[in-house]
C-alpha cells in the first residue's frame, strides 16, 4: 500500500461573504478505510464535501489525491475519475434508465457517441460484481429510494474512482436498507476503496467507520479512531460545551409522568382511515390523541406512517374514514380547512413544503396567521410579522442575520426551526409532525422535540409525531406501530424498549405490551 492517503485535504479555508465556513481543515482518508465526518448543521460539512468533490474551489489550502495536487475546481471529468460523491439529495434523473444514469455525464468509450450496448453491458457488470441486482434497462422512476441510491453508488463505481463520499446516505432509508447499505460499504472498504461517511446518526458512524472526524464551526476539532470513543464524548466534541450537555439531554425524558393528564377527552380522533396513496397504503387506521398527549407513530418506510400524518393534516385525501378535532369532522384533503380546525402540520420534506425559500424568516414563520395579524381590510405591516415571529424564533433559537433573511439561505436545522415556528405560531390544538428531525443536528433535534412536546403539554395540544427515527419517540407517552397500513402494536408505557419497537415495525413479534 502506498504511504500517501487516497485523498488528503491540507489547510482548507473557505469564506462565503461574511461567513468563515472552513478554517484550515486538514483531513485525509487512506485506502481501505472508512472515515466518519460528523458535525452539527452549519459546521461546514456540506462545504467540505463540495470542495472535495471539486464543485467549489477553496480560498486557501490544497486537495491532494495519492499525494499529487488535485485538478483545478470545475474540471469535472478529472475529479470524477478520482473521487465520487453520493449526495444527500438524489441526483438521479427519473425519466432515464438505470444504465443512462450510471453513465450520466461520462462517456462509454469512443468519442462523444453513446454506445448503448457497452453502456448496458458495463452497467450489468457493475451490478453483478457488487451483487446489486438491478436491471440496467429499468426506468429510474420505477425504483425505490434504496435502489436509487444503489444507482448513485454504481455511478460512482463506474468512474473507477478510488474514493467515495457518502453524504447522509441513510436519511431516506428504512432500517433493513441501511443494513444492506452498510454491507455494501464494508465490501467497498474491504476492496481498498477509501470512504468518507457523513451522517447525523452517530450510531451508524460507530458501526461502519474506523475513524471519525468532528467538524465544529469550520474546524476539525477531533480526529480519532472510533474504537474506544464513547457516544457522549463524540457529542460533546460536536457541541463544544461539555458541561451543559447532560442536563439538556436528560431533562425532557423525565417529564412524561406529569403528562398522564386527567383529561380523558380526545382532541384528535382518527376513524378507520383507508387510502391507496403511493407513499404507503392505509388499511383502516384508527387512533385517538388526548389533550396534552404525545403519541408517536412509527413503522417502516412504506408502512403508511407519513401517509397517516399527511391525511390527518389534510395534505392528502383518503378513500374512506374520518378525522375529527374536538368532535367535529374535518373536510378531507383540504389543508386550509384542517388548519382552521386547529391542525398544525410539520411536513416530512421541509424543502418541498416547509417554507418559501426566498421569503424572509419572519414572513415564513407567520405565514399561517396572516388572517389573524391583518385587520378588517386584510392589511398587514411587515413590522407586525416581525413582532409576531420574534417570540418563537427566539425560543427556538433560529440563527439568522435578521427577520428578513430568506429562509433558503439558512442551514437545514434553522430551516426546520422556521417550519416548526410556522406551525406553533397559529396555536394549534393538534400538531402533526412528520419526521421533524430529519437531517437536523443533535442539539437542534433535542431542542425541536422539546419544543413540540413542551408545547403540547403546556397548551394541552395533541401531538401526533410520525417518525421512523426511534430516538424521536423517547419523549412520547404512547407509540403506535404501523405495519402495512394497519396498527400492529401499541406501546403505552415509556420508556420504550428499542428492540421491541424494531421487532414490531418489522411485523415480526407482538410485544408484551399492547393496548
Amino acid at each position: 500500500m502506498s504511504t500517501d492517503p487516497v485523498v488528503q485535504a491540507v489547510g482548507i479555508d473557505k469564506r462565503f461573504g461574511s461567513t468563515h465556513a472552513l478554517r484550515g481543515v486538514d483531513i485525509s482518508i487512506d485506502a481501505g478505510r472508512c472515515l466518519g465526518l460528523v458535525g452539527r448543521n452549519g459546521a461546514g460539512k456540506s462545504t467540505l464535501v463540495s470542495i472535495l468533490s471539486g464543485l467549489v474551489a477553496p480560498d486557501g489550502g490544497q486537495v491532494r489525491f495519492d499525494g499529487r495536487p488535485a485538478p483545478s475546481a470545475g474540471a469535472v471529468d478529472a475529479w470524477r475519475s478520482r473521487i465520487a460523491t453520493v449526495f444527500q439529495h438524489s441526483m438521479v434523473v427519473p425519466q432515464l434508465t438505470v444504465a443512462e444514469n450510471v453513465f450520466l455525464g461520462s462517456g462509454t468509450g469512443r468519442g462523444r457517441l453513446v454506445n448503448w450496448r457497452t453502456m448496458h453491458r458495463r452497467t450489468d457488470e457493475i451490478m453483478a460484481e457488487w451483487g446489486f441486482g438491478i436491471s440496467s434497462s429499468t426506468l429510474c422512476q420505477d425504483l425505490t429510494v434504496e435502489q436509487l441510491q444503489i444507482v448513485e453508488i454504481a455511478r460512482a463505481l463506474a468512474t473507477g474512482a478510488r474514493c467515495l463520499l457518502l453524504d447522509e446516505p441513510t436519511a431516506a432509508l428504512e432500517r433493513g436498507a441501511v443494513q444492506r447499505l452498510f454491507d455494501r460499504v464494508n465490501q467497498l472498504v474491504a476492496s481498498g476503496v477509501a470512504v468518507m461517511y457523513i451522517s447525523h446518526h452517530l450510531e451508524e458512524v460507530f458501526e461502519i467507520c474506523q475513524e471519525v472526524a468532528v467538524l465544529r464551526d469550520g474546524e476539525v476539532v477531533l480526529t480519532t479512531p472510533t474504537s474506544g470513543l464513547t457516544k457522549d464524548q463524540l457529542v460533546s466534541a460536536m457541541v463544544g460545551t461539555v458541561a451543559e450537555q447532560p442536563g439538556e439531554r436528560a431533562a425532557p425524558a423525565a417529564v412524561p409522568a406529569a403528562a398522564a393528564t386527567t383529561a380523558t377527552d380526545a382532541v384528535l380522533v382518527v376513524e378507520s382511515l383507508t387510502t391507496s396513496s403511493p407513499r404507503g397504503r392505509l388499511n383502516g387506521v384508527s387512533l385517538q390523541v388526548r389533550r396534552g398527549e404525545c403519541v408517536g407513530v412509527t413503522g417502516l418506510l412504506s408502512s403508511g406512517v407519513s401517509t397517516l400524518g399527511r391525511v390527518v393534516a389534510g395534505a392528502e385525501t383518503c378513500d374512506s374514514g374520518r378525522v375529527l378535532v374536538d368532535g367535529q369532522a374535518v373536510g378531507p384533503g383540504r389543508r386550509d380547512l384542517a388548519q382552521r380546525a386547529g391542525i398544525g402540520y410539520i411536513p416530512e420534506d421541509r424543502r418541498a413544503e416547509g417554507f418559501v425559500a426566498h421569503l424572509g424568516v419572519a414572513e415564513n414563520a407567520t405565514m399561517t396567521i396572516t388572517d389573524r395579524l391583518s385587520g378588517a381590510l386584510g392589511l398587514l405591516r411587515p413590522a407586525q410579522r416581525v413582532e409576531a415571529a420574534a417570540p418563537l424564533t427566539e425560543a427556538l433559537s433560529v440563527v439568522s442575520s435578521g427577520p428578513d433573511q430568506p429562509v433558503g439561505e439558512l442551514s437545514g436545522g434553522n430551516q426546520q426551526k422556521v417550519t416548526v415556528a410556522r406551525t406553533l405560531v397559529h396555536d394549534p390544538s393538534v400538531i402533526v409532525a412528520i419526521t421533524p428531525t430529519r437531517g437536523v443536528d443533535v442539539a437542534s433535534k433535542t431542542l425541536l422535540l422539546g419544543a413540540l412536546t413542551g408545547f403540547a403539554r403546556e397548551r394541552g395540544a395533541a401531538l401526533l409525531l410520525a417518525s421512523d427515527e426511534l430516538s424521536d419517540l423517547t419523549q412520547c407517552d404512547r407509540v403506535v406501530v404501523l405495519v402495512r397500513g394497519r396498527v400492529f402494536a401499541e406501546f403505552t408505557e415509556p420508556p420504550f424498549d428499542r428492540e421491541q419497537l424494531i421487532a414490531a415495525t418489522e411485523g415480526l413479534a407482538r410485544s408484551g405490551q399492547d393496548s
Partner: protein
C-alpha cells in the same frame, strides 16, 4: 444558537403583541440585515440610471423630447401597456403565464363597443347604455380570466398551451363578431379614459399610475398580496401553511384579464377606435413580457414588484418615443426596438444580479 437555551423553556408563546416596547431583533448581526435591505433597494432601482441615460439621449436626439406635450403623449401611450403589464406581472408572480392577455386587450373593448354602437357603424344594434358597456367590458375580462384559471388550476392543464389556444380563439372572436371591421364613433363615456386630459395630464396616465401604486401596496401590505408571493415561491409550502392556493391562483388570472380589458379600453380611447388588429394583431404580448422581465419580475414566479415593472414599462415607452423622434426608418424600427429590449434585459440582469436571472 444561543448557548444556555434549554428545551424546557422553549414552549412557544403565541404572539402577544405589544408586550415588548419594541420588536425584539431576531438579528445576531444587524449590519448583514442592513446590507440585505440595501441590496434589495439597489435592485429595485437597477434601471433608474438607464432611464436617466435615455432622457439624456432623448434630449440630444430631439428638442421636442423634453417637452410637456411629448412626455404626456408618452405617458398616454404607455398607460395601456402598463396596465396590462400589471396584470401579467401578477400572473407571473403566482408562477403562471398568460399569453391571451393580448387578445383580451382587443376582444373586451370590441364586444363592449359592438353592443353599444348602432348597426350603421357595425355595432349589433341593441344600443347598450355606454356605462353598461363598460361593465360588460369588465365582465368579459373576468370571464376570460375565470375560464383560463379554471382550465389551468382545476383542469391541471399547461398554462402556456391553454392561453396560447385561448389567444387564438379570442382573437378569432374579435374579428368574427364585427367581420374584421373597425369600430369608430365611440361614445364619450367609452373613450374618456383613453383620451381625456386633466390639467395637462392624461387621465389614462393617472389611472395607470394609480393601478401600479395600489397593486404595489396590495402586494406588500395585504395578506392576499403576500399569499401571491408565497404561492409563486413555493406552492406546496403555501398550501401546507393553510393558504387557499387554488383560489389565489384563479383570482389572479381573473384580475389579470380584467386589467388587460381595462388596458384595451385605454388603447381604444387613445386611438378613438377599436380595430380588429388591437392586441393580438399588434402582438403586444412581447412588449408586455419584455417590460415585466426587464423590470425584474421572474418568469419562475414569486419574485418581482411593481416598482420594477413600472420602470420596465417606462423604459419601453421612452425607447419607442426616441426612435419615433429620431426619424428611424419604419422598416428598421422594429429591429432596433428589439435590440434595445434585449440590451435592456442584459443590463437589468447585470445590475440586478441573480434575482433577475430567469
Amino acid at each position: 444558537m444561543t448557548p444556555g437555551t434549554t428545551p424546557r423553556t422553549t414552549p412557544a408563546p403565541v404572539p402577544a403583541p405589544a408586550v415588548e416596547p419594541a420588536p425584539p431583533p431576531l438579528s445576531t448581526s444587524p449590519p448583514a440585515a442592513r446590507r440585505t435591505r440595501a441590496v434589495g433597494v439597489l435592485r429595485q432601482a437597477a434601471l433608474v440610471p438607464v432611464l436617466l441615460l435615455l432622457l439624456v439621449v432623448g434630449s440630444l436626439v430631439s428638442s421636442a423630447f423634453l417637452t410637456e406635450s411629448n412626455l404626456a403623449g408618452v405617458g398616454q401611450q404607455v398607460s395601456a401597456l402598463g396596465v396590462v403589464v400589471v396584470g401579467e406581472s401578477l400572473i407571473l408572480l403566482i408562477g403562471g403565464m398568460d399569453l391571451s392577455l393580448e387578445s383580451t386587450y382587443g376582444l373586451a373593448p370590441m364586444v363592449a363597443a359592438w353592443l353599444i354602437l348602432p348597426v350603421s357603424t357595425y355595432g349589433d344594434g341593441i344600443m347598450l347604455n355606454p356605462y353598461l358597456g363598460l361593465l360588460v367590458l369588465l365582465l368579459v375580462g373576468a370571464a376570460i380570466g375565470l375560464v383560463n384559471g379554471l382550465l389551468i388550476v382545476k383542469g391541471r392543464l399547461n398554462g402556456f398551451i391553454v392561453t396560447l389556444g385561448m389567444t387564438i380563439v379570442l382573437a378569432g372572436m374579435q374579428s368574427g363578431v364585427v367581420k374584421a371591421q373597425s369600430l369608430y364613433a365611440l361614445p364619450e363615456a367609452f373613450s374618456y379614459l383613453g383620451s381625456a386630459y386633466v390639467a395637462g395630464v392624461p387621465v389614462s396616465l393617472i389611472v395607470a399610475v394609480a393601478v401600479f401604486v395600489l397593486v404595489g401596496l396590495f402586494l406588500r401590505y395585504h395578506r392576499t398580496g403576500r399569499a401571491i408571493y408565497a404561492v409563486g415561491g413555493n406552492p406546496a409550502a403555501a398550501r401546507a401553511a393553510g393558504i387557499k392556493v387554488d383560489r389565489v391562483r384563479i383570482g389572479v388570472y381573473v384580475a389579470g384579464s380584467v386589467l388587460a380589458a381595462v388596458g384595451g379600453l385605454m388603447e381604444a380611447g387613445r386611438v378613438s377606435a377599436v380595430t380588429a388588429q388591437q392586441g393580438y394583431g399588434e402582438g403586444i404580448i412581447f412588449s408586455v413580457f419584455a417590460a415585466a422581465v426587464i423590470g425584474g419580475v421572474s418568469l419562475k414566479g414569486g419574485r418581482g414588484n411593481m416598482v420594477g415593472a413600472a420602470t420596465g414599462v417606462i423604459l419601453l415607452g421612452l425607447v419607442q418615443n426616441i426612435l419615433d423622434l429620431a426619424n428611424v426608418s419604419n422598416y428598421w424600427i422594429e429591429a432596433i426596438d428589439g435590440v434595445v429590449i434585449l440590451f435592456a434585459l442584459v443590463l437589468a440582469r447585470v445590475i440586478g444580479g441573480e434575482a433577475t436571472a430567469e
